[in-house]
Symmetry: C2
Subunit: 459 residues, 2 copies
């Protein structure tokens, strides 16, 4: 019996798009437990940090340049840049910077990065209408719910075929969140989901190039655009998920689409969120954990290392198998680079994924001593690493759950530390502190646009 | 041996994206025969007519409304509306109106509608830079070449799976045309094709709703956007067509991707263009031809008809099988409505696809007497119709090639007549005449933007 078949036994396929939309439109945030609000605030803080960290990326310059060329009005804030663009370009560009460091959060069941497509859509919309902090948080929770429920139906077949999960389903999250805030009715929201579905795209072939993060910007933008179009009267299918030639049938014929509405309302997917301590794909994280643990515990000097062997989940070679990366972006898709950086630097943050660091002789030398072997029994967040020293000594570390997963979560303090590591270089320490305080108190704030206003760079 | 295997025997898969890009960037329009220029001018005139015809569609109002809401600068002309929007919105909205009547041209081998995604992209770009009429024509011919070469690799598997062909490949045409005009080098154009590929989407589930034509607007917009991004320095894959997880592998694993560059430079796909005499899917056209021929030749009154039986190509029930359409858009996907309208009105133009006409009792009554049967031996442009009268008399008509196909082309006069049937209601007869003259003489014009300026509505 397939996973979820038991849950789904009493569920028909009929009307699942509408039922998902009805859940969103009917949701009252009086029903939301305080730990869900807290989980959403953690996502908000982490998103602000990674967006600020990504805001100086060269790709942002190019996107802004083209926005100027084609004509853009100054309506919504571009995070960390001290300037504005039109509502859609702002969602696109803020979405891009939220993902470009590969440092944004993950839902492991669907393999979707949930915050990056949803928060920028909410932020853009808050420049068009007044949104309270509480409404923003609950809209985010609903967007999170929708994108990951749709994502888990597609994963892993869809990812294996070559589609980028967040590119394909992030827009549903952005549409659900903004549709809720725009007070669409269930029919309109179903049509907004239809528009998003027919806009959804994104190939894994783009990994290692700027176009990967453009996918996330496009998802944020198209989700918001879909909600605005549906509100205007623009028509679409109301049954895009279940139709014989709908989104699931075309994209994932092997899947049980009923999973999308199974136990809807019984809990909140946002409580299953993982936060990244390293700015690269989650499948590399338990391996990096193991290398960093051994390095620090045993005081290993990298020049003493003869070999590093990692036992890994099946996705690792598939997603991060690049042996000789040449750029920072490429390095994120090389487990060999991640291992080397973890050993030499004891970290895998944005600094380890610069072009310079990827091409540094010390790193390259260790990279060549790293090897991997798939253990088909491993979970995605599990790994074992063996290091052999010149002395002949062998050291081993097993990680059952990577740092940042729900089973081994980052504390609020660690998360705040990660946030400051990126926010301070843009906002200064006082500005970063102020923004963090606003994020933790966002449920008491009248106007969500205020917090976005705090992302202006210092000086 | 598969079709094209012979042509492809000496072609490798390696570098096909780059080779296609090199063909475009290296092309000199001094090499273009005059009949190719003429074919492109026919496309231009027909496009102007269908865009003007679609410019008053309700969906255009909604798209303009949302463009205003999100903030748009007045940079490029919205055809037939006497106003401007930013460069990308103009491409999107002009693309929408170019397809919404289902009256735009077709390339039968790829099942792509080639003009609607490409001309709006060129028109928008001509608001950013000066483009001569000759350059616009040859850029269009190259865009046409690229989108249909990519389309024929995917068709029919891709269409059968539930993807909308023009939605998926129209953007490549728009990127090739605008990339040529922006003087991208082959590496940049390859990356522009990469960006388009990762933006490509569009589900057939949207047929009968406004979102179907939004696909075409999106294709026009994303092709232009991709070229501008690639020029700015934004990075993407340079081998999106042939990569192991590239566009063809993900979308059409059964296909021979080498077909895309087979005999490149030996001829011009634009010479295979079909123009629509009826504003609905091409698969319905030979059937409508047969009904109209019988009606006019035999002087049939619709109330005398007991039964109409059509022998049709396999795609007809699949694409146009709706038995009881309720809206004008829906009527385009009902062969039964098309047959009824052809018999009652002797035409299948925009007037026959209004909500009113689709719901008219006279049409519904005939619709119920129509039936179809697939003949697996028929080509897409072939049909046979039998009409039985109350008197017992039986009449039959066989159409080997529908009107408007390369084998049975519309004359320049017929094409101009079709154009005037739409242009005059927007521009008045003098304005329509002036625009048509400009289109036929476009190769002598300095600035393509001039012809777009002639699409301002009269009064």
């Amino acid at each position: 019996m397939k996973r979820n078949d038991r849950n789904n036994a009493s569920i028909g396929k009929k009307g699942i798009t509408k039922r998902l939309a009805q859940y969103v439109t009917g949701f009252d945030h009086g029903d939301m437990p305080s730990e869900v609000f807290h989980a959403a605030k953690r996502c908000l803080l982490d998103w602000l940090g990674v967006a600020l960290g990504g805001s100086s990326h060269r790709g942002v310059d190019y996107l802004l340049h083209v926005a100027e060329e084609v004509g853009t009005e100054s309506k919504a804030i571009i995070i960390g840049r001290g300037r504005k663009a039109d509502i859609l370009h702002a969602a696109l560009i803020n979405g891009y910077m939220s993902h470009v460091l590969d440092y944004d959060d993950t839902h492991l069941e669907s393999f979707v990065h949930p915050s990056a497509p949803v928060w920028p859509a909410i932020a853009s919309l808050s420049a068009m209408m007044k949104i309270s902090g509480k409404d923003a948080l609950s809209a985010f929770v609903l967007g999170y719910e929708v994108e990951n429920r749709i994502g888990r139906v597609l994963f892993p077949h869809h990812d294996e075929r070559g589609w980028h999960m967040t590119a394909m389903v992030g827009g549903f999250g952005a549409a659900a969140a903004t549709g809720k805030l725009l007070r669409l009715d269930a029919g309109q929201l179903s049509q907004a989901l239809g528009i998003v579905a027919t806009y959804s795209s994104g190939l894994r072939e783009m990994f290692g190039t700027m176009s990967k993060s453009l996918h996330i910007g496009k998802a944020a933008m198209s989700g918001l655009y879909a909600s605005l179009l549906a509100r205007s009267g623009f028509t679409s299918s109301e049954k895009v998920l279940e139709a014989p030639r709908g989104f699931f049938a075309v994209n994932a014929d092997e899947c049980d689409s009923r999973t999308v509405v199974a136990r809807l309302g019984d809990g909140f997917e946002v409580l299953q969120n993982s936060f990244k301590p390293y700015s690269c794909g989650v499948v590399t994280h338990p391996i990096i954990d193991a290398v960093v643990n051994l390095r620090n515990r045993e005081g290993i000097e990298s020049q003493d290392v003869v070999a590093i062997e990692a036992e890994v989940h099946t996705m690792v070679p598939d997603v991060t198998g690049k042996k000789s990366p040449t750029t920072g972006l490429d390095g994120k898709f090389s487990i060999y680079h991640c291992i080397a950086a973890a050993l030499v630097d004891g970290a895998c943050g944005p600094d380890q994924f610069s072009d310079e660091r990827v091409n540094h002789p010390d790193i390259i030398s260790i990279r060549k001593r790293a090897s991997i072997r798939v253990n088909p029994g491993f979970r995605k967040h599990e790994a074992r690493v063996r290091i052999t020293l010149g002395s002949g000594r062998r050291l081993e570390e097993h990680i059952p759950f990577a740092r940042g997963t729900p089973q081994n979560p980052l504390t609020d303090e660690k998360l705040t530390e990660k946030y400051h590591s990126m926010a301070e270089s843009v906002l200064g320490s006082k500005g970063a502190q102020e923004l963090a305080e606003e994020a933790w108190a966002i449920d008491e704030v009248d106007d969500f646009q205020g917090i976005i206003g705090l992302t202006l760079p210092s000086q």
